[in-house]
Symmetry: C2
Subunit: 499 residues, 2 copies
Amino acid sequence: MFDRATFLPARVVSQTPPAPPLGDFPPETFAHHGHELIDWITRYLREIESHPVLAQTTPGAIAGALPLQAPAHAEPIDDILRDVHHVLMPGITHWQHPGFFGYFSITASVPGMLAELMATALNVNGMIWATSPAATELEQVTVRWLAQLLGLEGEWFGQLTDTASTSTLLALAAAREADPSLDVRGRGLAGRTDLPRLRVYCSELAHSSVDKAVMVLGLGHENLVKIPVDDVFRMRTDVLEARIAEDRAAGYRPLAVVATAGTTGVASVDPVPAIAAITAREGLWLHVDAAYAGAVAVAPELRGVLAGVEGADSLVVNPHKWLFTPVGCSALWVRRPDALRRAFTLVPEYLRTTSGAGLDYHDVGYQLGRPFRALKLWMVLRAFGAEGLAERIRAHNAMARDFAARITATPDWSVVAPVDFSLVCVRYAPAGMSPTDADELNRRILARVNASGAVLLSHTSVHDRIVLRLAIGNVRTTAAHVEQAYQALLDAAAVERSS
Amino acid sequence: MFDRATFLPARVVSQTPPAPPLGDFPPETFAHHGHELIDWITRYLREIESHPVLAQTTPGAIAGALPLQAPAHAEPIDDILRDVHHVLMPGITHWQHPGFFGYFSITASVPGMLAELMATALNVNGMIWATSPAATELEQVTVRWLAQLLGLEGEWFGQLTDTASTSTLLALAAAREADPSLDVRGRGLAGRTDLPRLRVYCSELAHSSVDKAVMVLGLGHENLVKIPVDDVFRMRTDVLEARIAEDRAAGYRPLAVVATAGTTGVASVDPVPAIAAITAREGLWLHVDAAYAGAVAVAPELRGVLAGVEGADSLVVNPHKWLFTPVGCSALWVRRPDALRRAFTLVPEYLRTTSGAGLDYHDVGYQLGRPFRALKLWMVLRAFGAEGLAERIRAHNAMARDFAARITATPDWSVVAPVDFSLVCVRYAPAGMSPTDADELNRRILARVNASGAVLLSHTSVHDRIVLRLAIGNVRTTAAHVEQAYQALLDAAAVERSS
C-alpha cells in the first residue's frame, strides 16, 4: 500500500505562503508544489500496484470525510494536497493500474501526461483559429496523422472531441442535416406535416451513446432500431435490409446506420462493407463507431478492422481508449464536413469566405469551449511512433489470445465470444448447474475478484447470460498481470462454488 | 520575449532514454521531464508578459512547420518538448496573460493547475460511482459548496460539465422532458400529430450556445424566439409575455425560457424575478445562464446578480470563467433532477433503487466519459477561500469601473452599456464621423491594439454598431494592465484616425 502517512511530511515545517490578498499565488509556489507533485506522481507510477485497483470504500464515506460547509478563508495548499492524499486517494479506482481490465482499460502514458501538463498551463480555448492558432492547426495535423496511421483513404475532415458520446452525437446531427431540404436545424422536427418519423439503425450490441444521441437529437428512443446479431455478434445485414424496407413501407424515413467495429460487450465487428453497400443504395448516413477497436489499425496487418470504412460518412476512434492518451480525446472524422457545418454553424454564409483566417472549430460542433486536446495525442504519436503503438497493440492482442487459450483449457470455464482484439469474455458454468445459478455464481466470482484489489474486471450480458470481461489496454499491463487475473478467477470460483 | 533558444539546452547532452519496446516510459522519465516542465511553466508564469497576448502568426504557418507524415518511429521526448517550445508557442494566444481582456478572460490559477496535474495522473473516469467514488463524491461536495457560496437556497442537484454549451444543452433537454406525457425521449419529435411546434425564448443577447442547444435538440432554430431588450439590454418581459400568448394562440407549445445573468455582449442581467413569475404562471422551464456573471455572487453584497433564481429550474455558472479554475469546468444545477434523469437515463426503473451504490453521474447527462473535474474546483475554492474569491472579483469590478470612468472622461470615447461587473464596452466616435465610418475605425483600432501584443480585446455589436469589449477576469490582471489597455486604445485611435 502506498504509504499515506509519509506524504509531504517536510511541508509541516516549510509551508508555502498562503494566498496573497489579490492575484494568483506566486510562480514560486507553483514551482514548489509542482516539483512536489511530480515526485508524488512518480512514486504513484512506481507503486501503482500497491493500490487496490477498485476503490475499497462505501457510498458516502469520502463525502462524509469532507466539511459540509465551503471554506470561508484560504487554506494552505499543503493541507489541501495532504487531504487529496489521505482523504481522496482511498476513494480512487485506479484506472492507471496495470491490473485494470474493466470496461475498456485506458492509460495516461508518460508522454500524454507531460503534454497535458503543458496544456493545463497554457489554458487556451481554441474556439476559433485566432484564440490559439497552434491549437487549431496542431489538431488538424494530428487528426490527419492519425488518419494516415489508421490507413484511412480519401478525404476526411477530422476533429478531437471530449468523448465518443460527443463524437457520435455530432455525427448523427450531421446525418440529420445531410439532406438540406429537411432543414431540421432551421425548422426542427416537431409539428411538421412534411416530416415522417426518422429512423436510425444499429446492432443490439451498439454502445449506449447511440441511444443517448438519438434521444438528445429528438429522434426518439423507439426510432433507434436495434438489429439482431448473428452467432458471432455481428449485425445481421439481412435483417437490416428487411427493417429498412418495412420502415419505408410503413412511412418512416430511414436516416442513418451506426455500425460498430468493436462492440463494448464482446468486441465484435459489424460487417461494414455489406452495411455500406446498403447505406449507399438507400441513401443513408453510415457512422462507424470504432472507439475502442479502431486503434488496432495502426498495425498494418490489422487494418481489416476498418474494412468498408471507405463507404462510411463518419468514423470515431478514441485515442484516450487504446492509444495511451489521457482522457478526453476522441477523434471524429466525417466525409461530408458540409453537413456537419450545416448542423452547427451560426456564421452567416456571406461571412464565411471573408474571414481570411484558418478553420474555426466552433463551427463544426456545439461546444464553444475547446481545450487543447491535440497536444497530448501529438506527443503520444511522436513519443511511441506508429511502430511502437502497433507493437503494444499486438502485445495486448497476444496476451488476450493466451488468456483465452488458458480459459478454454480450464474445466467448467469457457470463452463465449471470438477473441479478435484484447477483450476476452468468459463464463464459469460447472456441469449440471442451471444457467440462472451460474449467472449468480459469475456475479459472486466477479465481486470477489474485484474486492481482492489485485485486478479489476467488469461484466456484460451475452445471450441474456452474465459473462465476465477481461479488457487489456493499459500500456503497463504485462502477461504477468493477465496471469494474475486468471488465477484470481480460478481462486474465486473455487471459493464461491464451495460456499 | 520568452527566450526560445535556451529551452532545455541541457537535454542535448542528457536525453532521456527512448520509448522502451513495450510498456510505458519508466517513472524516472516522467520525473525527469516533469521537473523540467514545472520549471518551464514556472518561467512561463514569471515571464508571461514578455509574450504577445495574441499569437503573431498567419494561417497555416504552424501546420506548415510540422511534418506532413505521421512519425513511424519513436522520437525522443526532448525533441518533442523542444518543438512545443519553438514551433507551437509562437502560435499560442496567451489566455494566461494578464493583458488578456477578450471574450471572457479566464485563468488556470496555481491551485487549479496543481489539481489538474494530479487529475491527469489519476486519469479516472467517473461514469459511475464505483469507477471512482472519490470523483463522484467530491463533485457532489464541491457543487454543494459552490451553491452555498453563491447563496443558492433550497434543493439543487448539481454536476460539473465541460462547457456552458453542454450545461445549457442538458438543461434544455431536461426542459423537453419536464412533462413526461410528451415522452420526447421515447417517441421523439418527428411525425407526431399530437405534438405542436415547441418554442424556447431568450433575449436577443443570449449566448450562441442557446441557439446551438435548440438546434441539437431538434426544436429548430426558428423556434428559438429572440425577445428584444430594453435600453439597458435586459429582456423585455412585456414582449416575452406577448410572444408567449401569441404563440399559444397560433398553436405553438412554449417550453422554456432562457434568462441570461451577464450577457456575453454587454453583461446585462435579464429581469429574472419577473421572468420567473411568467414561467411559473405559464408552466415553462426557466434556465438561467449565469456562466460568466454568476461568479460575483460569491461576494455577498453582489448576490443580486442571481435574484429570482429561486424561481428557476436550472442554472449554469462556469468556474472556468471567473473563478480561476482551468478549462473545462461548468457547474449546472437543476431543481428537478427527475426531468434531467428522464432525459438521459438508460437504467431501467427497476434497477435504480437496488444498485446500492452512490450516484452514477452518467445517468444525468449524455457523455459517458467523465473526467475528474471536481478536483480543480475544490482546490481553488479551498486555496483562495470564499473571501479571497470575493476580494478578487470586487477588485476586477473596481478596475472596470475605473476604466469606464476614464473612457467616459475622454473626448470622442464613450461607454455604451452599464458597467455592473468586470466588462466594459466602449466605442470611439469622433464628432461628425458617420456611424459606418466609426465602425470601420473601431475595427482598425481593435486590430492595431491586438497586433501590439500588449493587450487583447474583442468586439461585439450593440444596436448594430461595433463596440470594443474589455473583459477583466484573469486573476493576475492589475490596474496597471487596464491602464495599459486604455493607453493602447488611445494611441491606436490617434494613429488610425490620422491614417
